[in-house]
Amino acid sequence: MRLHTFASLLTKSARFPALLGLATMLSGCFWFDGPQSTFDPHGPVARHQMDLFYVTCWVCLVIFMAVGAVLAYTNFKFLARSDADAHAEPPEEAHGNPLVEVSLIGASVLALVIIAIPTLKGIWYSYDVPADEKANAYVVTATGYQWWFKFDYPNEVAKTVDASGKTVNAAFSTANELVIPVGRPVEINLRTLDVIHSFWIPKLAGKVDMMPNRANHLWIEADKAGYFWGQCAEFCGESHAVMRFRVIALGPREFNDWLSNQAEPARHLEAPVADEAKPKAQFASYRTFKRNEAGTTEAFDADPLAGWRKQQQPSPGEDAALVATGRKLFASKTCSSCHTVRGDGYIGVVGPELTHVGARSTIAAGLLENNRDEVHRWIHAPNEVKPGNKMWVSGYLANQIKLTPEDENALVAYLQSLK
């Protein structure tokens, strides 16, 4: 090969990686950040999976560069440059080149072995909590519904008040916000009672499906306290896109505080202090939202964990009378036939448990920030937020529920008070 041919080969083959680099830089603006980015793992499982991804990625990139360089070279080198060239007499039938073929097959197999070894390790690693940590693992059960997630804590016990006013034990469950301890493996049993869903917290672990009639599970571990976005990843019907959830990882003390607060029955406000000067309930001051409008504010998204912590405290300006009205409406508007509020005597099981809904940072399956406006948006027209959802179809429509602005106001106050 003459020197200048070699040089031009070099230049040409260098073009491609350069282009690729440029493309990478350009794409950098929408690459690494983002609350569901798999490039930003916060736990061992996700990190393991990302490392494996990088292995496959580099092996494939090297193959692409090598084969691509040859292909590009071939394209330029053997281009017919004249009419005679373009009509050259074809050579006789040849038999390929066994040596080249076999060595290329060998190289491909080698490349695949490089991928195969960490893959096999990863399959066993990500399947279950490592044996030496099994005893330390915290167990929860996640159940998918159209379109929300229920989280049961089988090893915790909650309290409720029975008809005679006595405090008794009850199941400990929450919805759409999974609170887990930091630094401990968490084993999540995955269940579903309707269609297939898939449980995915990109920063903590890859997804595992919730299959009807099948006992799937997944394990995660969070390195440090944090707030993570999750989403259903298997098409599960009309509102699949808005079937989201959040995971909050807390240090041991904070986690225990949360557990003990959750175990309590619903919070009751002290009887209202007579205060004539205080204005009666405020109406119609709620924001209106467009269809599909984002349910969270930038301020909240900037530091959601702080938002979540703030949410644990009672909101200022609570109106005990209004809350009491809301509590009554909750039964009379048939909300209670689907939702549980422990301690208030509401034991519906179709929808999410609401005993401590006010202490969650989001409502409506991780979709809306938990504040007055968004709660109102949700109960005012659930179908706008989550098309086809049960609260709308078999609640509002089936029972012909009509809420006046006053009703909505009281219900919002009640739900917000459930810390």
């Binding site: 983002g34 609350p35 569901q36 798999t38 490039f39 999976q49 990302m50 494996l52 991804f53 292995v55 496959t56 494939c60 193959i63 692409f64 691509g68 292909l71 071939t74 060239d85 373009a86 009509h87 074809p90 050579p91 039938e93 040849a94 390929g96 080149n97 080249v100 073929e101 290329l104 491909s108 695949l112 960490p118 893959t119 399959i123 990500s126 269609v195 297939i196 995915w200 990109p202 890859g206 595992v208 499906d209 009639n213 099948r214 799937n216 990843a233 298997e234 098409f235 009309e238 699949h240 896109a241 808005v242 269809r291 599909n292 349910g295 969270t296 930038e298 998204d301 098309p387 086809g388």
Partner: protein, 654 residues
């Protein structure tokens, strides 16, 4: 059947006269001629035309999807409409565009490549086409009914598709439509298998078959062996929906995961059904335009076979996240990696074909080389998926969407476009404009990459597929906007392609015989090929038969003249008769399918009234048509060629 008829033909006179219903149509032009045609070229053309028609449909659905996702929190479509769009986009593009486009080439090109005058069963071929049309109608009929179009995704996972979660008839139409497409595909594939095995010209040994014909054979085998799995799955879901059985009824112990297994036992070979024809087309174009025989022909053929065979053992890699357990996951993971080897081998051999050749960059060649680049990317992201734990992050995300569009557009569609550009002069005797062809290529190439490359990043950034809305804070806005812009560039490219194709069909520059100085037998024909294809059945002496024939023109001419005399002595060129019954049988099927899938059954308990009546009517029409089809027999007539090439038909139609 037809081959036998040749010998039967001589003894026809002593047979009893046929009743009136068995008289055969003879129209050569007009609507009747198209409804009754058994000519593989006409049927191929019809397949192509329908595929391009549905391509517009599927494309518009894609644009609607991209418009909805262009910006966060968009309200262009409702969630329900969005579900219909992506379900029908997927179903349409796979079953009504890429598969029939492949079938169009199989029909038109394959018999010409093996030196046959028609497929083995011409009437069965017509039936396949009409049943395909019927299936397409049933799939799409939902757009015009109150139930709406199917909306459970193209792989329709149970139990979302059961009556409980999808109470309207939309899913019934999807199930019935796919079932009919399955019947059509299996019938067509059986026909192609018999044709390739049994109808080859003298001297056309298996190891001289053009690679496109090989890939037709493999694809047909894949269709024949994989479609039964989805047929069973669809029967089961249909039984659940119509008769209340328990296959996927969880409360009675039904296992919805069974649907996934059965679906992907079909679904993974289906992926190869979509890509193998493309590989065949590429293996025809690259040698022609680099003026070199295909490098490593036997290896290309055997790698095709091993892709097809291994393709039956990797289905569960679509189910890595379903919790199969470690051993099963590992096994399928390794199998998936193994299948990358024969695929890589093909790419090496294609590059080997280019190496040392004389490459002419005509439009088909540009699409073919574009295919190499894009398919390589798609294949490599496929290898990434085979690492199951990493796939847990990618599965069901836009990374997957990017991957399979690289394979299906960058792979299949680029090759099909290349095929259209390559064989257009042969099919219609006219040329697609070279300038506009290149414009098309660059628009499609750029548009495609701008659309789908960002999706890799979107997926890895956690964007799940099949979501009709997303929030701005997720960091997906830029990528999605890029993708939407790209989709419109791609759409403009496709529009350019359609316009230049339609213009070329009516007004294009006349092509001459053997436009590209081709290698295979189809290029030995006048353009467009006559009804009888070969005036004299060629004798094949080498793998690139037509190149050989051109080099040895005088010997071949002598041989041909001898065979022509023999042919004439045996009664001339035998042609199959036309028949209306394949079409009527399909009409019966359509009526029956509408009865099953679309019509509400009567509210009166215990009796389904109208539904049953319509279904039985359709079934009866089909039954009678098939019976008459069998009774009319595989008769034919003879053509004699005059010295000037004009045609004289012999003794009327039998």
């Amino acid at each position: 059947m037809e081959a036998l008829a040749k010998t039967d033909f001589i003894a026809k006179d002593d047979q009893p006269a046929k009743p009136l219903v068995l008289w055969r149509p003879t129209a050569k032009t007009g609507l009747i001629s198209w409804l009754t045609t058994v000519d593989h070229k006409r049927i191929g053309f019809l397949y192509g035309l329908s595929a391009l028609f549905f391509f517009i449909f599927g494309g518009l659905e894609a644009l609607a999807i991209r418009l909805q996702l262009a910006v966060p929190n968009n309200t262009f479509l409702t969630s329900a409409q969005y579900s219909e769009m992506f379900t029908m986009h997927g179903t349409t593009m796979i079953f009504l565009v890429v598969m029939p486009m492949g079938a169009a080439f199989f029909n038109f090109i394959m018999p010409l490549q093996i030196g046959a005058r028609d497929v083995a069963f011409p009437r069965l071929n017509a039936f396949s086409f009409w049943t395909f049309v019927v299936g397409a109608i049933v799939l799409n009929i939902g757009w015009f009914t109150k139930d709406g179009a199917p909306d459970a995704g193209w792989f329709g996972y149970a139990p979302l598709t059961t009556r409980t979660f999808s109470p309207t008839h939309a899913i019934d139409m999807w199930v019935m439509g796919l079932q009919l497409l399955g019947v059509a595909s299996i019938a067509a594939a059986l026909n192609f298998i018999v044709t390739i095995i049994n109808m080859r010209a003298p001297g056309m040994t298996m190891m001289r078959l053009p690679v496109f014909t090989w890939m037709t054979l493999f694809t047909s085998f894949l269709i024949v062996l994989s479609f039964p799995a989805i047929t069973i799955a669809l029967i089961e879901i249909m039984m659940d929906r119509l008769f209340g059985t328990n296959f996927f009824e969880v409360s009675s112990g039904g296992l919805p995961i069974l649907w996934q297994h059965l679906f992907w036992i079909f679904g993974h070979p289906e992926v190869y059904i979509l890509i193998l024809p493309a590989m065949g087309i590429i293996s025809e174009i690259l040698p022609t335009f680099s003026r070199k025989p295909l490098f490593g022909y036997p290896i290309v053929v055997f790698s095709g076979a091993s892709i097809g065979f291994l393709g039956f053992g990797v289905w569960s890699h679509h189910m890595f996240t379903t919790g199969m357990g470690t051993t099963a996951t590992a096994a399928f993971s390794m199998m998936t990696m193994a299948i990358a080897v024969p695929t890589g081998v093909k790419i090496f051999n294609w590059i080997g074909t280019l190496w040392g050749g004389h490459i002419t960059m005509r439009t088909p060649m540009m699409f073919a080389i574009g295919f190499l680049w894009m398919f390589m990317l798609g294949g490599l992201s496929g290898i990434m998926h085979s690492a199951a734990p990493a796939d847990a992050q990618q599965h069901g995300s836009y990374f997957i969407v990017a991957h399979f569009h690289y394979v299906l557009i960058g792979g299949s569609l680029f090759a099909l476009f290349a095929g259209i550009q390559y064989w257009f002069p042969l099919m219609f005797g006219r040329m697609i404009s070279e300038f506009w062809g290149k414009v098309t290529f660059w628009l499609v190439f750029v548009g495609f990459n701008v659309t789908f490359f960002p999706m890799h990043f979107l997926g890895l950034e956690g964007m799940p597929r099949r979501t009709f809305t997303y929030d701005a804070n997720m960091g997906w806005a830029t990528g999605n906007l890029f993708a939407t812009i790209g989709a419109f560039i791609l759409a403009i490219g496709v529009a350019t392609f359609f316009i230049s194709m339609i213009y070329a069909f009516f007004k294009g520059e006349r092509a001459h015989k053997d436009q590209w100085d081709g290698r295979t037998l189809e290029w030995s024909l006048p353009v467009p090929p006559p009804e009888y294809n070969f005036a004299v059945i060629p004798t094949v002496h080498a793998r690139d038969g037509w190149w050989y024939a051109k080099k040895h023109a005088s010997e071949i001419a002598k041989e041909t003249a001898e065979h022509a005399k023999e042919d004439e002595a045996h009664g001339g060129i035998h042609m199959p008769n036309q028949s209306i019954y394949p079409f009527l049988a399909s009409v019966g099927i359509l009526i029956g399918a509408i009865g099953v899938a679309v019509v509400d059954h009567d509210p009166s308990p215990g009796f389904w009234g109208t539904k049953v009546a319509i279904t039985i009517l359709g079934g009866a029409i089909m039954f009678v048509s098939v019976l008459l089809w069998a009774c009319e027999g595989a008769d034919g007539f003879h053509i004699h060629l005059n010295a000037d090439g004009s045609v004289r038909e012999d003794g009327g139609h039998h």
